[in-house]
Subunit: 529 residues, 2 copies
Amino acid sequence: MSPLTAQQADILAAGQWRPSLASKTFQSVNPASGELLPYHFPVSSWEDCDQVLQAATEAAERLRQLPPAQLAAFLEAFAVQLEANSQALCELAHRESALPLKPRLADVELPRTAGQLRQAATAARSGSWAQAVIDTQLGIRSCYEPIGPVCVFGPNNFPFAFNSAAGGDFAAAIAAGNPVIAKANPSHPATTKLLAELALKAIEETNLPPATLQLIYRTSHEDGARLVADPRVGAIGYTGSRHAGLVLKAAADAVGTPIYLELSSINPVVILPGALVERGDEIVGEFVTSGLMGTGQFCTNPGLVLLVQGAQTDQFLNAVTAKYEAAAPGTLLSTSVQESLTSAINTITKAGAKLLCGGQAVAGQCSVSNTLLQVSAEAFIAQAEVFQTEAFGNAALVVVADNVNQLGGVLRALEGNLTGCIYSDTQGADDAAYDQLAPLLARRVGRLLNDKMPTGVAVSPAMNHGGPFPATGHPGFTAVGIPASLFRFAKLTCYDAVRQQRLPGLLQDKNPTGQTWRCIDLKWTTADV
Amino acid sequence: MSPLTAQQADILAAGQWRPSLASKTFQSVNPASGELLPYHFPVSSWEDCDQVLQAATEAAERLRQLPPAQLAAFLEAFAVQLEANSQALCELAHRESALPLKPRLADVELPRTAGQLRQAATAARSGSWAQAVIDTQLGIRSCYEPIGPVCVFGPNNFPFAFNSAAGGDFAAAIAAGNPVIAKANPSHPATTKLLAELALKAIEETNLPPATLQLIYRTSHEDGARLVADPRVGAIGYTGSRHAGLVLKAAADAVGTPIYLELSSINPVVILPGALVERGDEIVGEFVTSGLMGTGQFCTNPGLVLLVQGAQTDQFLNAVTAKYEAAAPGTLLSTSVQESLTSAINTITKAGAKLLCGGQAVAGQCSVSNTLLQVSAEAFIAQAEVFQTEAFGNAALVVVADNVNQLGGVLRALEGNLTGCIYSDTQGADDAAYDQLAPLLARRVGRLLNDKMPTGVAVSPAMNHGGPFPATGHPGFTAVGIPASLFRFAKLTCYDAVRQQRLPGLLQDKNPTGQTWRCIDLKWTTADV
């Protein structure tokens, strides 16, 4: 164990900021300047993990007994803290991620994060998320209940909205009644620490168990796998790279602990010929905006464009290429993103794709020139796996098919994705092609869009931010959208002949809020039994 | 490949009964007499698996396009076939399983199976199971949709109700719009073949794709794992032994295919002192009936009884022991059930449990004497894993604690179970103990019962026949109960800005049946948008 230095950041365990029992430390980097940030963060040992697990187990028992309104009050108090500390949070996140202060961090992501917390609070208060089902004839009643401590691993690309200490999985896990063990993303540990400090204030204000949120920054690979497989863990939420996610999935699967993953997605966009004829210029603009937004570092970035050959397609590609070349490449989140992006581009070009523009790291910067690659549908189908290598960042692969049938063949060769889009004309010229292709695409994606790029992920009750493997680990769950995201972190419990006063409030005859939706004898209602 | 003999049973592939490309064959055994039944069943090669997978893929595409009412018509036609052929089915099942013809097979299990098919038909027709969610403001709509071909592996203990070609998983998979590849349980392949013959008649009557149901009987272990991991498979339903289930789970998990397992459960029953004082005799009767019903071969058999020491407990145990000794032991489903039961009893006695009665195989019969074992709570806690060895059959382990606190310790040491029961008195003497123990038990089981043995699993919309690992593979899903069991075999699909006429019927403005429950702008309703 290394001696602790004054600069070493504390972990948050059982409500206390305390030194980690760390084996070593790491620093985050400002990707815009390349400078190391001054904070040193510990790589936790198993002792840290064991202690937070123990505290989380006790917090889970207490949280189950609290009224949902108290969870809601915490989530709302935390939202207020975020807004009150927006400037400090955004400056820190900007330094660690190079994401633009405005509008991105201050005007979009932070308000979205506060909004998610408030929607989760509303869901917790209403209880409708728990899908109470009551069979009055047989005296059987069931609902979803807290699953136990949830480990959340946040991604690099959203320092707030998917942060393990403030983002969507955090809000869902808490609203469902579970404590969270947050594992910071190592590209923005300081931002995560500040978020956890604010969460702790809100925890204290609203009198939740101190271990409702705990924070560690990093573990060894072995301890990470051991953590998720620990019997004290109820469930895991992970957003990040496919490789690391699959290691955690294997560990959790082996002990039957639910793990919800968001791993990778290239988000195919089909643009049908009639749409290009009708409004090619518009679509050029939409694609370029969506493809380069956030330097392409969104899980729903359109990384694969599917077209049918023809003059309008040549024109589209010329126009997009010109705009990609003209736009200044953005700063990437880290040198490791830069490396994996150039490596993916190399893999795809080696497999036979033609480079339309870009393809190179920008000298002296954490940046890659805006990149477009092109391949024929025939070549794509012949090596479908390698051409689906995720190039996370400002790069996209264009596949040009001879005809719509061949485009169908490309769709059949696709892995699971979060989203799929089809652009078609409004006068019916593309309708036959749409009818042929949409069913093939729909079953391979979590969300099918019409005439719209996939990069906006609205926090809507109807959203599905999920999809078939390897986009996620299970095609029945969404990571975004409230209340649906909550019930990932819950277990189904049935009460059979349980005496009325012993039932959870949600299942007693009287509707607990007067407004909670329950399914009584196969009818959804807010009435009492 | 062995030459095919006249007696070798055909497999059902793509709507045709045809010889298997088999490497070898097996026969089922009449457990009551020990005689080999005259039918020879093939162990399918990979070629068989590949062919049924291909046919299922095509059937899945066609099934998606059919109106749900047609699926419902099939399920109802199949129910009629079951009833019309009840006698032949029950006689065959009786020979293969030794389960009593009446009341069990003819009066209980077959009617239940037909009832499940009809409930599934109603669910398919209504569409409410698919949980349509509509956000009118943002133009986002989502629902559950068919997941693709479902492989169903049925257990040995329900030749009808959980049969892979007629039971709960079958009905749920079909009602959700998926074709089924049934793998017969090798202890009742002839029954399964007859069920599939009747299903095929119903398929033909209602004009479903011929490969809506296909049947194989057995594969090698390697081919079984390869089958569930094949990319053409949408999901898997498995009910059976923990060991075989975990092999399939590892194979499916590795490729991210949902697998729903029901593995093992010892179903703890806590009987509090006040209840014994109040109505000890009644509870003796209830326990003996539940424990020995079906020779204890139910997944919800009460295999673990938790008591607090005292005179009323001694009396309870004496009375139960006397009844266990007096009752004739039933015939077990197979010699392999007999072997694993005696092996489990040996494991538990070797670990230090005392034998109250039974414990021996009955000479010359496929039977084990009715068995009760006893251990102290202290000893149980010290070796909790070994004392939770499932003794599938007519055996139970009694744990006697010094006091309620220690009983809490036993509950904390429990693995996941399908059910947990607490018996308490009606005058309040046990209330404090109940309040202490119920939360500990509830989070470790799928269904908590009061004053009632766990062996009845009603087909109720509020039922949860599920629970934490290792009872199942995921604590959020139920294998019994309609409509909830359907959505295991479905993927969530979101339609974002998709044009109205292109939406699935379930998500269009007009309610597709006028009676389908949909959640529109956070309110459940059967109205149109």
